[in-house]
């Protein structure tokens, strides 16, 4: 009996200590982890979709709540403003949608009229050689100058040509861009 109690107590103490220490490390590394994610994942995409700015969009990033997920938790989006002479002339933020394999995360740049200044694929796990071609400029450049009405497949009244052999991946990108543009009116209120 004494052995049993000792076992339970020792394991409980070890687990509790582990939990406390890990939660401390988690909190302590939160800021640098976010910074590294921005630097290595978001910054290259952000630079691809924004141009002609003289501020530091990373430093001036804004966190906005843009709706709720299925569990009722707020969805946050990080918005990078591109400013020139102190005036915001475009913003970049990301949205996700399901591709052929998994989620595709797309960074979009939008100017105040709701026109795309460009898009860039941040993360995806599409098939190399087929769906992975969504990364190529031939595909992403099509989105430049489109808005919420025209950023659709050409079959559906838009101006985007699908990649042959990669219908689902194309649809994923279009869905992500579409959901990003749907958020735009709300983001516009807070940023421009």
């Amino acid at each position: 009996m004494r052995d049993l109690i000792k076992m339970v107590v020792v394991l409980a103490v070890i687990c509790t200590t582990s939990g406390v220490v890990l939660s401390y490390v988690n909190t302590a590394t939160e800021a640098p982890r976010e910074y590294q994610y921005i630097k290595f994942v978001q910054e290259p995409s952000m630079k691809a979709v924004l141009s002609d700015y003289d501020n530091d969009p990373i430093k001036e990033r804004i966190k906005l709540v843009v709706g709720e997920n299925e569990e009722g938790n707020p969805i946050e989006t990080v918005v990078f403003p591109a400013k020139k002479g102190g005036k915001t002339h475009a913003v970049a933020y990301s949205a996700t949608a399901k591709g052929y394999h998994d989620l595709i995360e797309v960074m979009v740049g939008v100017d105040p009229d709701g026109t795309l200044t460009g898009i860039s694929i941040m993360t995806h796990t599409e098939t190399p050689g087929l769906g992975a071609r969504i990364e190529e400029p031939e595909f992403t450049d099509q989105f430049q100058g489109l808005d919420v009405d025209t950023a659709k497949l050409s079959d559906e009244g838009g101006q985007v040509d699908a990649l042959s052999g990669a219908t689902f991946s194309t649809a994923g990108v279009i869905a992500a861009v579409g959901s990003a543009l749907e958020q735009f009116p709300q983001i516009k209120k807070e940023t421009f």
Partner: protein, 199 residues
């Protein structure tokens, strides 16, 4: 045994992947480049040193019947910590190693050292043991990664080292290349150790 001997045994006598042939999953999977081997080795060393020290500190408190469970909790905590630290300070390496960072928790070298060494020896000895074995593991992975990177891509730590007309032997950076390369290294180790009298 002296502390120095505990340290140096990890560098030859009990060199983890080549002499003990332990921890082969990361050894084979992440050594496509010397840099990845080094990163994996350092992450494992971090976990190994810390878990060895903690297990050694607690060796008289942990009841025998729940020792493995306790060791796993200790090891898993340090693995999560290593993962968070990699994410925070060395993000490209975190991306490269991917799933193999959380998998350090099932690396048998770490549990093996906790069970076979740290649970029976004082703190300083356990620290030296962890440092030695970890360093041996790191060096082994870097060498294996280096050989595969040189043959497979003609580069070493991402710098071109082969002559310009060298045709990369891309088989070496794929999974079968890992087995072939490891096999040759194990053979080489056996030849060398046969020439040296056993201790």
């Amino acid at each position: 045994m002296s502390v120095v001997k505990e340290f140096t045994k990890g560098l030859w006598q009990e060199l983890p992947p080549f002499r003990l042939v332990l921890g082969l999953c990361p050894t084979l999977a992440v050594t496509t480049m010397a840099k990845n081997g080094l990163g994996m080795g350092l992450a494992t060393t971090f976990v190994l040193i810390n878990s060895n020290v903690i297990v050694s500190v607690l060796r008289k408190i942990i009841p025998g019947k729940v020792r493995i469970a306790s060791y796993i909790v200790v090891i898993a905590s340090f693995v999560v910590m290593a993962e968070l630290l990699l994410q925070a300070y060395w993000y490209p390496m975190y991306e490269e190693l991917g799933i193999f960072v959380p998998l350090i928790v099932v690396n048998c070298i770490i549990l093996g050292r906790a069970e076979a060494f740290a649970s029976k020896n004082p703190i300083v000895h356990s620290l030296a043991d962890g440092l030695g074995i970890g360093l041996g593991f790191t060096i082994s992975l870097t060498i294996l990664g280096g050989i595969r990177e040189i043959l497979g891509t003609g580069e070493f730590f991402s710098m071109a080292v082969m002559w310009p007309s060298y045709e990369p032997f891309s088989f070496m950076v794929k999974a079968p290349g890992a087995f072939v390369c490891l096999g040759f290294l194990l053979g080489l180790m056996n030849i060398i150790s046969r020439r040296r009298p056993a201790h």
